[in-house]
C-alpha cells in the first residue's frame, strides 16, 4: 500500500511536468515558411543584438529555431572553430590561434562587421576637476607599471586633486578589458591589477556612483542608463555619442562588433536567410539595445562580403 503510494506520488509529479510541457504547441503553418536551426554563441556584449534580431526574425519565420548563448567571445570561438555552432558573436576579431584551429578543422568562415560599441570613461558626479582625459593620461593611470605607485590623481596631472584615485574596470576575462588594454596601454591584457574588477558592468556603475574619487571604464550603454549617477569624461576632447562614434572622431575607445558565420552552415536550411535578415535589419535595431550602428557604406561592405560568401 505505502509503496504504491510513493511510486504514485513520483509518477504524478513526473507526468504532471511532462504534460504541461507538451500542451503548449504553437502551429500556424503557412506556405513559404522556412524551417531549420541556427545555433549562435559567443560574446555577451553582442548577445543583446543577436537576441533582438532573433526576436524580430521569429515574427517572420516562427519555425526556424534560433538559439543563442553568451559564453563570451573566447568561449564561443572554442565552439565555432570545431563546428559546434553556426554563428559566433564576437566583440573582437578572431585571434590567430583560433583561426589556425578553424583551418585545422576545415572550418571556412566569413567575418561580418555589424555595429559599434563605445567604451566610456566615467567618474563620480562630485568630481569637479576632471572633464577631459587624454590617451596618455589614461595610460599613466592604467599601465602595469602604475601598480602600487600611481595612487593619487595629481601624480597623473598636477592640476588634479591630491586625493587618492580609486579605479574600477572589467575583469580580465572580458572583451572590454582586452580592447581597452590594447588601445590604451598598447598591449592586449596588460593592465595594473590593483583596481576593483567585475565582469558585471552594473557592479562597476554602483562602484563609481558611490565613491567620489572613483574612475572607471565600461560600455557606453551602461552610462546612458545611469546618467543621473555618473559623470562622463571626454577622451582627447571628444565626448562619446552616437555621432562621434559613427564618424570616428571619438578615438580610440570605440570598437567594432562582429558576427562570424561558418560558410558550411549557409547550406543548412534557415542559416543563410537568417544572416541576410541580420545584416538588413541590424541598423535599425542596435539603438534599442544601446549600441551604435555602422555607416551606411560600411553596411554595404558587410553586405558585399556576405554576398560573395554565399554565391
Amino acid at each position: 500500500m505505502k509503496k504504491t503510494k510513493i511510486i504514485g506520488w513520483i509518477a504524478a509529479v513526473i507526468i504532471g511536468f511532462t504534460a504541461c510541457k507538451n500542451s503548449s504547441t504553437t502551429d500556424t503553418g503557412s506556405a513559404e515558411k522556412e524551417k531549420g536551426e541556427v545555433k549562435i554563441d559567443g560574446s555577451s556584449t553582442v548577445y543583446p543584438i543577436t537576441e533582438a534580431i532573433a526576436e524580430e526574425y521569429r515574427k517572420e519565420q516562427p519555425d526556424v529555431k534560433v538559439t543563442a548563448g553568451e559564453s563570451g567571445t573566447g568561449g564561443g570561438m572554442k565552439k565555432f572553430t570545431v563546428g559546434e555552432i553556426d554563428i559566433c558573436d564576437a566583440s573582437r576579431t578572431i585571434k590567430p590561434a583560433e583561426d589556425s584551429l578553424a583551418k585545422a578543422n576545415k572550418i571556412d568562415y566569413v567575418e561580418l562587421k555589424i555595429a559599434f560599441d563605445g567604451l566610456c570613461i566615467v567618474v563620480n558626479p562630485a568630481n569637479k576637476f576632471l572633464d577631459n582625459i587624454t590617451t596618455e593620461e589614461l595610460k599613466k593611470l592604467w599601465e602595469p607599471e602604475a601598480q602600487g605607485k600611481v595612487k593619487k590623481w595629481n601624480q597623473v596631472n598636477a592640476a588634479w586633486s591630491a586625493e587618492e584615485v580609486h579605479l574600477f574596470g572589467p575583469g580580465t576575462a572580458s572583451g572590454t578589458f582586452d580592447y581597452f588594454t590594447e588601445e590604451i596601454v598598447g598591449a592586449k591584457g596588460k593592465s595594473r591589477g590593483d583596481y576593483t574588477a567585475s565582469e558585471d558592468d552594473n557592479v562597476l556603475v554602483q562602484g563609481v556612483a558611490g565613491d567620489k574619487n572613483a574612475l572607471g571604464y565600461f560600455g557606453l550603454a551602461y552610462f546612458e542608463n545611469n546618467k543621473d549617477k555618473l559623470k562622463n569624461v571626454k577622451v582627447n576632447g571628444i565626448a562619446p555619442s552616437k555621432e562621434t562614434v559613427m564618424n570616428g572622431t571619438y578615438k580610440p575607445l570605440s570598437r567594432p562588433l562582429f558576427i562570424y558565420v561558418n560558410k558550411a552552415s549557409f547550406a543548412k536550411p534557415g542559416v543563410k536567410a537568417f544572416v541576410k535578415y541580420y545584416i538588413d535589419n541590424v541598423k535599425s535595431i542596435v539603438g534599442d539595445v544601446g549600441y551604435i550602428p555602422l555607416h551606411d557604406d560600411e553596411y554595404a561592405k558587410t553586405q558585399k562580403v556576405f554576398e560573395d560568401a554565399t554565391k
Binding site: 505505502k2 509503496k3 510513493i6 506520488w9 513520483i10 509529479v13 513526473i14 511536468f17 511532462t18 504541461c20 510541457k21 507538451n22 503548449s24 504547441t25 545555433k39 549562435i40 554563441d41 555577451s44 548577445y47 543583446p48 543577436t50 537576441e51 533582438a52 532573433a54 526576436e55 521569429r58 529555431k65 534560433v66 538559439t67 543563442a68 548563448g69 553568451e70 559564453s71 559546434e84 558585471d200 558592468d201 552594473n202 560600455g219 550603454a221 551602461y222 546612458e224 542608463n225 545611469n226 535595431i285 534599442d288 539595445v289 544601446g290
Partner: protein, 284 residues
Amino acid sequence: MANKRNRRIDKAFRITGLLATCFGVFVLIILLGSILIKGVTRLNFQFLSSLPSRFAAKAGILSALSGTLWIFGLTALFAIPVGIGAAVYLEEYGKKNKLGGFIEINISNLAGVPSIIYGLLGLGIFVHALKFGPVILAGALTLALLILPIIIVSTREALKAVPKTIREAAYGLGATKWQVIRTQVLPASAGGILTGMILALARAIGETAPLIVVGALAYVPFVPKSPFDNFSVLPMQIFNWVSRPQKEFTVNAAAAIIVLLVITFILNGFAVFLRNKWQQKVKW
C-alpha cells in the same frame, strides 16, 4: 554565588542565541522584501508565457521556466532510484569493512565538491564523449550526479534511524532481508528519505554554474519538446537580465527570482508535508 553566576551565563547565552536568530531572520526579510517589492508588480500571465525580448516589458520566462521544469523532472527521474538504491545497498547489504568505510568517506566528500566541477565532468562525458550535445538530457544527468551524494547520505541517515529491534523482530518472524527492507525499513524511513530527496532537488533547480558549463543557452525561443532539445533555465535568465544596462530588466530579474523562490518553497513545503504524513502513519 556560583549559582548566580551560572544564571547570568545562562541568560547571556539565551540573548546571544536570540540575536543570532533575529539576525538570520532579519537578513532574510530584507532580501525577500526588496525582491518582492521590486518584482511582484511584474508578475502576470504575460510574464510567465512570453519568450525573451529586448524590451523588458515584453520579455517573459516561458522558455526558461519550461527548461527548469524539464531539468527538474529528468534529474529526479535519474537521481532518485539510483540514490535510494545505492543507499539501501550500502546501509543494509554492504559489509562494514575498510572498503565500505572508504566508499562512505568518498561519498561524503563528493557532496562537498564545487558544482562547477560536476559541470566540467558533464561537459566531458555527456556533451562530448557521449555526443549528446548541450541538451536537456546532458544537463539533467549532470545535476543528477551533483545531487546523488546528497541523496545517498540523507537516505542512509534515514535508514539508520529505523530501530534495530524492528529489523530483529521481522527477522524473528522468518522474513528475508528484502522482505524486512520492503515492509519495515523503507516505510519507516520514507519520510526522511523524501525530505532529503526534495531538498536535494530544490538545490538542483537553483544551480547555474554546472549548466553554463554544459551549455545552457540564454536565448531559447521555444518550449523544449524532448530531452534532446537545447534549453535555458531560470537562473541563466536572471543572470542575463541582471547584467543588462537597462534598469527595467532588473525588475524582470526580481520577478523571475520570485518564481524560482515559489518553486523552491513549494518543494520544501511538500517535503515537510510528506515527512509529517509518514511520521504519523508509522506505528509499530
